[in-house]
């Protein structure tokens, strides 16, 4: 760190950061509308899809998901009231927590289906790699703001990359390829928002493509396997399903059949045989979108995509109306988390993306994913409440939190 005058202290002197800019802080109602729509669909879908999953307890998953949503809402409200600006200085702590938790998982966590991603807590199993998504956005945003003046230098770009890629590598070792790719997406979003020069971005993209080619094609043929066989097979197998006789193709085929058979209006709950007869795997977690596609057809599936588009649009919009750079970067990082997961998950169920185990935010069953998504939503609202742009104020509705 340099000995020069901290630019932030000057800024703080000019512009007080905390406290509402105007009276009557306003939340973004569009986000709330999208979220209420999505979690309603999630609850209805989980209720019917998991009715027979736990013998003697048809509401097992529904109750739990409901509790997660409630808990998430409380967390989101608390975070929204809290001034996100206070998190700016805690970037080292966030990064340290991110690294520590993921290393802990790598070393000690319980094995579930061949990968260790969980830490058992008294209430539920926490997935640190999920929480890591938010921690990474905060750490990256804090760093980018602190080095805003030298953002155009290669050194800062390199350090930003290191902050994101080190935890991404650890997560990949767990192994959780999907989440590590989310980390990369977050990095991209932060670099774009923080003002990293375009030539750096182009160079990074080139480097990324080269790495992908090495990992997927060149190194395996040389006998070095960076990815596990099943990961490689899933990544390459979806391009050419007949070359991949494993379970992954079965899952995607069943998902395509479920979605396709939904046609325009869906098959209804009783008619959804792909879900009801267990042909569709992971019907309440990774493949929940296929359940929606089967049950409500194009109408329902398109509505869900529209709600997600609304959510992502509102998040992206915050980037340009945020009070400060930190808020802008935070909003864009969160938009990236959401958009990337939505596209990869839905793309997977539609057979156009590989199977990477990325959950569908606000839809898939799972405590970690729900809570972390609500933390993100809380942060978005926090940024929105403190946005300074009059354009934001114009579309705001008057609601007190």
């Amino acid at each position: 760190m340099s000995t020069a005058v901290n630019p932030r202290s000057i800024e703080q002197a000019i512009q007080p950061r905390s406290g509402p800019v105007r009276r009557g802080p306003k939340v973004d109602l569009w986000i709330i509308l999208a979220v209420v729509g999505l979690i309603t669909i999630s609850l209805v879908t989980i209720a019917s899809a998991t009715r027979d999953d736990v013998a003697g307890n048809p509401g097992y998953y529904l109750t739990r998901q409901g509790i997660y949503f409630l808990l998430g809402t409380v967390v989101a409200v608390l975070i929204a009231r809290f001034d996100y600006g206070r998190l700016e200085g805690m970037r080292r702590a966030f990064w340290a927590l991110l690294i520590a938790a993921n290393i802990f998982v790598l070393l000690f966590a319980a094995d579930t289906r061949g990968s260790s991603r969980w830490i058992s807590l008294p209430f539920f199993q926490l997935q640190p790699s999920e929480l890591g998504k938010v921690l990474l956005v905060l750490a990256l945003a804090g760093f980018a703001v602190e080095y805003a003046r030298s953002i155009a230098t290669l050194a800062v770009t390199a350090r930003l990359c290191a902050i994101a890629l080190i935890p991404a590598c650890i997560v990949m070792l767990q192994p959780d390829l999907g989440t590590s790719l989310v980390y990369v997406a977050i990095l991209g979003a932060v670099l774009l928002t923080a003002g990293t020069p375009t030539r750096h971005l182009v160079a990074l993209i080139a480097l990324g493509v080269a790495t992908a080619v090495m990992v997927l094609a060149v190194l395996p043929s040389a006998g070095i396997n960076v990815l596990h066989d099943y990961q490689l097979q899933r990544l390459t197998g979806f391009v050419n399903p007949s070359s991949d006789p494993s379970k992954a193709t079965y899952q995607v085929n069943q998902s395509l059949i479920a979605i396709g058979s939904g046609q325009r209006l869906g098959r209804g709950e009783a008619g959804s045989t792909q879900t009801g007869l267990d042909f569709l795997p992971e019907h309440h977690t990774d493949f929940i979108f296929a359940v929606i596609g089967e049950r409500w057809g194009f109408t329902g599936a398109a509505l869900v995509i529209a709600l997600y588009a609304l959510l992502v649009w509102r998040a992206l919009r915050l980037v340009v109306v945020a009070r400060d750079g930190f808020g802008a970067i935070l909003a864009c990082g969160i938009a990236a988390i959401l958009a990337f997961q939505i596209f990869v998950n839905i793309g997977m169920t539609l057979g156009i993306m590989p199977i990477t185990g990325v959950p569908l935010p606000l839809m898939s069953y799972g405590g970690s994913s729900v809570i972390v998504t609500f933390i993100c939503l809380g942060l978005l609202q926090s940024v929105h409440l403190r946005a300074a742009d009059p354009a934001a104020a114009a579309v705001r509705t008057r609601v007190r939190v």
């Binding site: 630019p7 774009l192 059949i257 750079g325």
Partner: protein, 658 residues
């Protein structure tokens, strides 16, 4: 308001940030549009296709096998029955992909449970040779031959084996247990060739009109009565459409049609006589040293009902419930085992030797060449042309008339007739004409498949064979053995007059011809089956023989021949008098001892026993069984004793006459 310039917390340029966010927003919009397009394609454009696949996923059509009908004897005693069993089958279409290790794993797991060989061995397939376990090899081969048929891995699985497969369905994709019906044979080898065997319809059979409408995998009759009366015995398989979940477990039945069991086939056969007949054959074979086979048939001379029919050696048809290796099959059913599946009573034709003399007599009497009283001197041999024809053992019988010629089985008497009745051209003379009238040289039309037609040698037949031999030899480049190339000569007719030479007939044909003499000229179409009944015994269809042909037999001629046959069986000096003189009933019977090149003599016996209610014609032959009186006649007596409720008594004759 914040000054855009100089605000250190902000991105360097709001304009650039705006541009970048527009770019990011545009990319995300594009990706979401891609999702929607794909969704539209899957659900709206291609939705029907996926809906069909979804239905295909959850719906299984299961065939419910129908039991085949029973075969019962005239009194309703069960001869062939059906019992339920569990078959372990592989549905090739639901196995893991060809060539994948998972597919081989399924075969391995199954092999271990069923105690089959697991060591991989080279397996020749259309796609090349691969190292596979024997079971995997069988599955690949059979599924390649009949792509949509299930491969039956084990026909008669034990409850343990079937239970294991059901419990491990998840690990065994494509393996299933199906309920099947297997044939049971309470009588074991008795009548095995007559009843025949069943088996799944073959690829070849599927294309034939006889089997039109029969689905792949259906069990049909493959031989014997099972084949002949398949359309009655075969029930109609039911079908069940069930909804299954991802693990293949049935959730509910959507539609089902009940299987309709096959009908009961009632035979004219008498089980007691059948049993006796089979054991009599065994006895006869043991009497003639080195016998290679035997057959008998007992018919009612009034209507051609087959009372019993058998062939030896026999086999236990129950063995087909278990898989048999090719080498084991060859061992059990090949030359070494004397072809036990051959029904010698109807499928083998032989020279019938002296039993034939009755027909020569019919022809001679009919032509007026002799009268019953005509006396001929029998010095033991006769020279016809350049050839000397002799009696058996050169025995001189002195002056003989028709009756005594039959009693003593004088060859010379009949040789003379053969020479006299020879016609050197075309279809031959009166003997051939009578043979045709009596049904030789063509199938009798019995209700059994695979009947042999036999041969009536004529000058024309000889000439035709010679031409065929020449054609065949030209094609093959060597002799075919169809003909010795010799033209017809009087010697051929002389040989024919005593049932030798080129003449061939089945035991069945001989029985039909004797029955025609017995019933005054009706040439019968024998019938094994009597009627078709339902479960409660109601007759659904009576099986009647098509009307028999009639041949005019002069009453006096008939009487003369019967007298000769009676003396042969009953009177002193008769060739089978040793065997039948104490029988207690009038027996008309004739021995026969056929000379067969390169083999021991074949024993024959044909008899007719009149009775107001239960007349009987029996023919017995024993391949390489020696003299007729030595093995065939004693067996015929055992059979006749049973029919007339007498105590079975084995009496071996001493006559060394042919």
């Amino acid at each position: 308001m914040i000054e855009p310039t100089g605000d250190p917390g902000r991105a360097p340029s709001n304009v650039r940030l705006g541009r970048r966010m527009a770019f990011v927003g545009g990319v995300i919009l594009l990706l979401f549009a891609l999702l929607l397009l794909r969704l539209w394609y899957l659900q709206v454009l291609d939705g029907d296709n996926y809906l069909a696949k979804a239905n295909d996923n959850q719906v299984r059509d299961v065939a419910l096998a129908a039991p085949r009908g029973r075969i019962v004897d005239r009194a309703g005693r069960v001869l062939v029955d059906s019992r339920p069993a569990n078959a372990i089958v592989v549905v090739p279409g639901r196995l893991p992909e060809i060539g994948s290790p998972e597919r081989e794993q399924v075969a391995l797991k199954l092999s271990r449970t069923l105690d089959l060989e697991t060591a991989p061995e080279p397996c020749k397939l259309a796609s090349g040779t691969r190292q596979l376990s024997p079971l995997a090899c069988r599955i690949e081969r059979e599924s390649a031959a009949l792509p949509y048929a299930n491969v039956v891995v084990r026909k008669d699985a034990s409850t343990d084996e079937a239970g294991w497969v059901l419990e491990h369905k998840r690990e065994l994709p494509g393996v299933d247990v199906s309920r099947v019906w297997l044939r049971t044979y309470p009588e074991g080898p008795v009548g095995a060739q007559l009843f025949g065997t069943v088996g799944e319809i073959s690829a070849e059979q599927l294309g034939k009109p006889r089997f039109a409408g029969i689905k792949q995998g259906t069990v049909i009759g493959q031989s014997g009565l099972e084949y002949q009366y398949d359309r009655y015995l075969r029930g109609r398989d039911g079908a069940e459409r069930i909804q299954v979940d991802a693990t293949g477990r049935a959730r509910r039945t959507l539609r089902s049609s009940e299987p309709v069991p096959g009908k009961t086939l009632r035979l004219a056969l008498d089980l007691g006589l059948l049993r006796t007949g089979q054991s009599a054959l065994a006895t006869a074979m043991s009497l003639g040293s080195g016998a290679t086979g035997a057959a008998y048939i007992a018919i009612d001379p009034r209507d051609g009902s087959v009372l019993a029919l058998g062939s030896a050696p026999s086999f236990d048809p129950g063995v087909f419930a278990k898989p048999i290796s090719q080498s084991r099959y060859a061992e059990m059913f090949g030359a070494g085992a004397l072809y036990p599946q051959l029904n010698r009573a109807i499928q083998s034709s032989y020279p019938t030797a002296s039993t034939f003399k009755a027909f020569t007599a019919l022809a001679a009497l009919g032509e007026g060449v002799i009268t019953p009283a005509t006396v001929v001197d029998d010095p033991g041999s006769i020279k016809i042309g350049n050839v000397i024809f002799r009696n058996a053992g050169n025995q001189a019988n002195g002056p003989v008339n028709l009756a005594s010629a039959l009693r003593l089985s004088s060859d010379v008497y009949f040789y003379r007739l053969g020479a006299k009745l020879n016609t050197p051209k075309g279809p031959g003379g009166p003997i051939q004409e009578w043979l045709r009238r009596l049904g030789f040289g063509e199938e009798t039309g019995i209700d059994l498949p695979g009947e042999a037609a036999g041969t009536i040698p004529t000058p024309k037949w000889r000439a035709d064979r010679k031409v065929k031999e020449a054609e065949c030899a030209a094609k093959r480049g060597g002799p075919c053995g169809l003909s010795d190339g010799r033209a017809w000569s009087v010697g051929d007719n002389v040989n024919l007059s005593v049932g030798q030479g080129d003449f061939l007939a089945t035991p069945l044909q001989l029985a039909v011809a004797y029955a025609a003499i017995a019933n005054r000229g009706k040439v019968l179409r024998p019938r094994v089956a009597k009627d078709v009944r339902n479960d409660s015994g109601l007759v659904l269809q009576a099986i009647r023989a098509r009307p028999a042909r009639s041949v005019a037999i002069d009453a006096e001629d008939r009487q003369a021949i019967l007298e000769g046959l009676r003396e042969a069986a009953m009177d002193d000096g008769g060739t089978s008098a040793d065997v039948f003189s104490d029988f207690g009933r009038v027996v008309y019977g004739k021995t026969g001892t056929a000379e067969r090149p390169g083999q021991a003599d074949q024993a024959w016996y044909a008899l007719y026993i009149p009775d107001r209610k239960r007349p009987l014609v029996v023919v017995v032959t024993v391949e390489q069984g020696g003299f007729g009186a030595q093995s065939a006649a004693p067996a015929a007596r055992l059979i006749a004793s049973r029919w007339f409720g007498q105590k079975g008594k084995l009496v071996v004759g001493n006559s060394r006459t042919r």
